[in-house]
Symmetry: D2
Subunit: 347 residues, 4 copies
């Protein structure tokens, strides 16, 4: 089959690779029908030496082509969405849908390590399918299903972990795909105001259309503008959805005393210059999270079914899998109004 | 009257100063009867240039000598304990006992800024006494009352904010006075194991006597020993009670995936080299807090009254106010088994 | 001045009474400008013998005519809204805005006991004004301010106490004024579906316009319809906003296993025939609440200011205070599409 | 094999029955080694017509004699404890250890319905063993393991659902086996006082030895004594562990304003005369629960291993399975200081 392979810095290619094999009696093989590129894929794309040869991709939906004897919740022919994050599949947290805190330490995303080939391919192997795959629910469109494999859950958990109270002021730092999901999920918790910070006009406009107050960080640091608009108080809840050191620090500066900063942007710094003094003097809480995808589905699926989100505009570009190299380059460039790119393995 | 003044690096002196005056109709004057030196006083003691001339001290109890016309909860002659931390006194959080998140931004500790003379003195002025002073409750000994002005509340809030669940494994990093309070407060939440890390044998022995498992950080980094004793998993809840950069980092290394690190040690770094990668990969929560003292009294007073804490050994040294210079030097040295020093303004 | 007096069963009258006097140095006198009739007033209206002679009303706004020496947050000439529920004014819960759990046991609503004359009058006395009165915030219309004195807080607390999780199914039983507030507040917590049960077509239509799924209880018991629409599962969160025995029981029947039933309708039964078996077998939580009005303002005021509620249609009838008898009769009848009646003391 | 059968009112017998068969590929057969009689078994014992012919018992431990092909967490020869409560075994709540809120509505206790033969027998069939059986952990004694099958989890969940805050006053109504577990679990949450109500002197003495304040309900109603000892305020958290109508009502009377009443006694009334007026005026929360046994093990096992409970005195009588009729009669009588009876299937 064909799969998207990381060959070097900013160099991906679609190559022929062996077909996946069933990962044990609790696993399935999925014929991928739609797959997407995630902002976190760009970490590998930019920093390839750590991952040359990896089969990329952790956002995919498709049809079950083969199922192990111990799989009960799905069967061959079912259309499923696959959790981007998995774990050992048998410990308490995994069974409860939180593979990010797997007790066996086996938490991982597809397409980020050699042992777990990814979903930007014609097919993929999914272990412990009862836990990590979900039949696409009635009333959920295919593109919505792709969003349920990672970024909608990530944005949701980011919002949950931001401790948003009714009437609160919220800031979302970064309006890329995850930030746009986080923005919509923040609204589930009844805030009175949501400030949305970015530098890309289309992204600010999209947030404004959703009811947020846009802040253009090209004019002045986002935190400075938030503090001005809140009379120096800041926001009780801040969601950081970029992952750069500068945006993490700006998010902390946005926070009001007693507030919470929830980081969902992937930041892998080991020595970020961190203002403990502010965290102490403002009595802050700071969190990051590797998203517990399956654990969010019981909340998110009925919300998607009820039309509570505006997901239709998330995918700005749809391309064939064969164009993956171009798709990565486009997504990385942020040009042409790109927000998120969907790939079709048939193309 | 006499008060303890910061004159320079490692230089404090007891000097004659003007008597305090009533801080408005909601305030009181307290004749101080017992006052203590706090670990956080050592920040000023070590780094005097930021505070030369300050009247030190934020832990004091005594008798009301004068009361403004709008004070209702205490009257002249009442014996009271005074919150070490105050705020505007009128906003919602202040009235709810959380001056650390004062909406007017007036959160401060006595004896740390020129405008708020401290309690290591013969008398002190306390604004908004209905909120920030408490009649010493029946069944609370004087030395226990001193502990209720700051460090028991600080340890308690540190434990609250560590999200300790029944059956959890807890680590307390640092067994100074605040750490010893945090250790006891952690036990309120039903953990199965508490690891207690320090380098001072007496402090480790005190923790062991309380039922904790002592870890001597002179042997190996505390986190390394915690990970070994927990089969690599770490602790769900970690309380850092030192405030050094190294101990904050070690506390983060102690945390299990999904865990919480609650920092109560005062760390005023603006660029601590912070491992965001670990926080992300382990889905951690990190908190610090400037203690909301009055808000803790409704929980802590009945616990003290019921004898649920072992507080008797906290004060290892009792001296006269006139010996404040010597007391600071002793406390800073950690020699002679000193844990905490109590001062008597009559001495 | 003129005040609305309960004279007997279904018999109220506007009579001349002595002007109110300042209730101590922390109190104020308010010249009432708008006041409303609450569903809970009908308990007295129907069951007068327990309250003959009471000056009715606990929902009022107006201008401060006189202020005691210890009042700081408002001054003569300020326009204020008054909490319908008050307490001792000095205990911790009262200061934190929760007079419903006053430690002195002095929790009470204006206009329900002889000692606390109500607001359906030309003026009213408000003790502890710093706690129980609020300057009408910028951006809050007068009629919105009236709703903030009781029913919007009551509906809000009812929703808070229903433990609504994102994606949940919610039922609101009863779409009177409080139910309509509860419905809107339930939406703050991100449910996927809200079922709204009533028997009055206009009320069902209003709920449907707000996005809820109307259930007409004239067709079949509300719970039977809810169970049918949820495939037998029921709703995780149920808010009862009527107070009749039958509706409390129906609310319990609506609840899914593990769910919560939050009762905000006033039910004063001492022997309601209660299905403990269902509560046990379904592992339910049941709550009622006497609303902690001031404690809700920090959440609700910014939401009102941000236009997050649809409050404009709440008052269907506006009358003069002199027409109070007619207003009570109309409100009690539920005819003419009446939802809530506003009274103007100048009329 | 031999099993305990309900033959009629107060009539049980040990009879020969067919051996159990493997309940599907995810199930196991357990050779029972210890089994206990639970207070809830007495509901059937007293009211046999609803359950004649049932194989009784839901508290059992033993050795795996046979395991289906899909069982991974235990194998033949392992010693296991069995959850007294099970569900469908595959829905989200079941996998998360909460079969009491099984989405398929299959929540049930062994030995209470014909389809689920119980554990007071020489062997029993356990479906979905990965979820509902647990290898007896190192450091857990056999009798402790039996307590982990039902009553320690039930007492624990009762305490969790009582919303106990540090420093709170707690009441436990009823000091039978479940009440004694609830008492110990309440202590995990840091209360300052625990009042323990019963009428049996040995039970009161046992509670007092544990640190609780005993209240003898033969002297006066328990709630009257609690109110007197708390100056009229009552207790913030009340756990009812009897299940009689009178004790549920007394528990509600014990509760302070804003408090929570957590019912763990099995009460199957459909028309308990319920004081909604008190629930409303005191802003109470009332809960009952069908215990989510497996979900409690991650908290309780490490606590048992750490010796945090006093479990040794729970079983006052140990008898052979062949003496089951006598054992039921003894347990029901409450004579001879009986608290709980353990049965050995070899006897």
């Amino acid at each position: 089959m064909r799969a998207t392979i990381l060959r070097g810095p900013r160099d991906v290619a679609v190559e022929e690779v062996p077909d996946p094999v069933l990962p044990g009696p609790a696993g399935i093989i999925v014929t991928v029908e739609r797959t997407a590129i995630c902002g976190s894929d760009l970490h590998l794309y930019h920093d390839a030496p750590t991952g040359i040869g990896i089969h990329l991709g952790h956002e995919a939906i498709g049809t079950v082509a083969e199922a192990g004897s111990e799989v009960h919740s799905v069967k061959v022919g079912d259309r499923v969405l696959v959790s981007g994050v998995i774990g050992c599949g048998t410990c308490g947290p995994c069974l409860a849908g939180q593979p990010n805190v797997c007790l066996q330490g086996k938490s991982a995303a597809f397409g980020t390590i050699p042992d777990l080939p990814g979903g930007q391919a014609e097919a993929m192997a999914v272990p412990f399918a009862d836990t990590f795959a979900l039949p696409i629910p009635e009333g959920v469109a295919d593109e919505e299903a792709v969003l349920l494999t990672d970024i909608l859950p990530t944005g949701y958990v980011g919002a949950v972990r931001a401790d948003i109270k009714p009437g609160a002021t919220v800031v979302v730092v970064g309006l890329g795909p995850v930030g746009f999901m986080a923005l919509q999920c923040a609204a589930l918790f009844g805030p009175s105001r949501i400030f949305a910070i970015d530098m890309v006009p289309e992204r600010l406009a999209r947030a404004a259309a959703f009811g947020a107050e846009p802040i253009d960080a090209r004019d002045a640091p986002g935190s400075a503008q938030v503090l001005e608009k809140t009379k120096g108080r800041g926001a009780e809840s801040v969601i950081e959805a970029v992952g750069a050191d500068a945006t993490v620090l700006d998010a902390i500066s946005c926070a009001a005393t007693g507030g919470t900063v929830s980081v969902v942007g992937v930041n892998l710094a080991m020595a970020l210059p961190f203002p403990m003094a502010l965290v102490f003097l403002k009595s802050l809480t700071l969190r990051a999270v590797f998203a517990p995808v399956p654990g969010t589905w019981s909340a998110l699926v009925p919300l998607v079914q009820a039309g509570r989100f505006s997901l239709a505009e998330t995918f700005t570009h749809r391309m064939g899998l064969g164009d993956a190299a171009e798709a990565y380059e486009l997504f990385d460039s942020r040009r042409d109004g790109v927000l998120k790119v969907l790939l079709d393995p048939k193309g």
